[in-house]
């Protein structure tokens, strides 16, 4: 069970949250100019790393706000929580 620090509500149990997948995927500026392969890449393709991953989470049973989390997919360690529109802090954590 993860303890996730909501930027507004503070540390809360994982069951209150919903994971929204990989963060920082920008919508194409001009979707009409994309071919099918490029559109499929935007819609479906994700990095799925072993190690540090930047994800979107929503405090769905709490304040219902979206925010970003940097989590290790190996150890589940969370080293950064930051609001939408913000960049993650530079340093990554110790665990891998």
């Amino acid at each position: 069970m993860l303890l996730i620090e909501c930027p507004w509500c503070g540390p809360r149990d994982e069951v209150e949250f919903r994971c929204g997948g990989e963060a920082h995927i920008a919508r194409p500026q001009d979707p009409d100019a994309l071919d099918d392969a490029a559109w499929a890449d935007y819609v479906f393709m994700r990095t799925n790393p072993k190690g540090w991953h930047r994800e979107r989470w929503c405090h769905s049973q709490g304040c219902r706000r979206w925010f970003n989390v940097r989590r290790s997919t190996v150890s589940h360690e969370i080293t950064a929580v930051y609001k939408m529109g913000e960049e993650p802090p530079e340093a990554e954590g110790s665990a891998q």
Binding site: W8, C9, E16, Q61, C63, R64
Partner: protein, 201 residues
């Protein structure tokens, strides 16, 4: 006493009263009240100032805090969202609408959305924590604080009223029977513990 026409738990009033364990915990449904969901940009003085002078109440900016102005409550729900709770017959919505007309806000009457259960007594904290993942330790969560979470998988808005502790549980009308039944079951063990003469601490 809950209004039979509107209260989701009116038919359970006696079951809730019978669940009481003297000196440990008591449960009842509170009478219906006006609940308004208010959204707006609190950094905008036109919004915050207007609301605060119209209601004579300061909207809490700190997450999960409750402002109490003579029976009118403002519970923090989000950085731009509050639940205003007042007496049942209240012109709260009309007052807000006229004060905030022309502004980019949302004022929604959600009185029928949730009913309010009062759970109080020395064992109330322990009972809630059987089904609620919030840290309710008095060092973290005390009177005047609120939190949205879950109670046995049902949506919950929790407000601690005093240090006894007494809690007000805002639960969805459609989940009220489930939540109340769950609480009655969770309260049962204290009755037997007491009868057996083994009182804790």
């Amino acid at each position: 006493m809950a209004d039979a026409k509107r209260s989701p738990l009116a038919f359970m009033t006696s079951a809730l009263a019978e669940a009481e364990v003297p000196d440990a915990v008591a449960l009842r449904e509170l009478s219906p009240r006006t609940q308004i969901d208010l959204r707006g940009e609190v950094a905008d003085p036109a919004f915050a100032g207007t609301v605060e002078s119209a209601l004579r109440l300061t909207l809490p900016r700190t997450p999960n805090r409750v402002a109490d102005a003579g029976g009118l409550l403002a519970l923090w729900l989000g950085p731009d969202e509050w639940l205003l709770v007042g007496p049942e017959a209240s012109d709260l919505e009309a007052r807000l609408r006229s004060a905030l007309s022309g502004q980019h806000v949302a004022i929604t009457d959600v009185s029928a959305n949730r009913t309010v259960l009062e759970l109080g007594g020395p064992k109330a904290r322990e009972i809630l924590n059987k089904g609620c993942p919030l840290d309710l330790d008095p060092r973290v969560f005390g009177p005047g604080q609120c939190a949205q979470s879950i109670l046995a998988r049902a949506q919950l808005l929790l407000h601690q009223r005093d240090i006894e502790p007494t809690y007000h549980l805002y639960v969805r009308g459609s989940f009220a029977f489930y939540a109340a039944s769950w609480l009655i079951d969770a309260m049962k063990e204290y009755r037997f513990a007491k009868r057996g003469g083994r009182r804790e601490r």
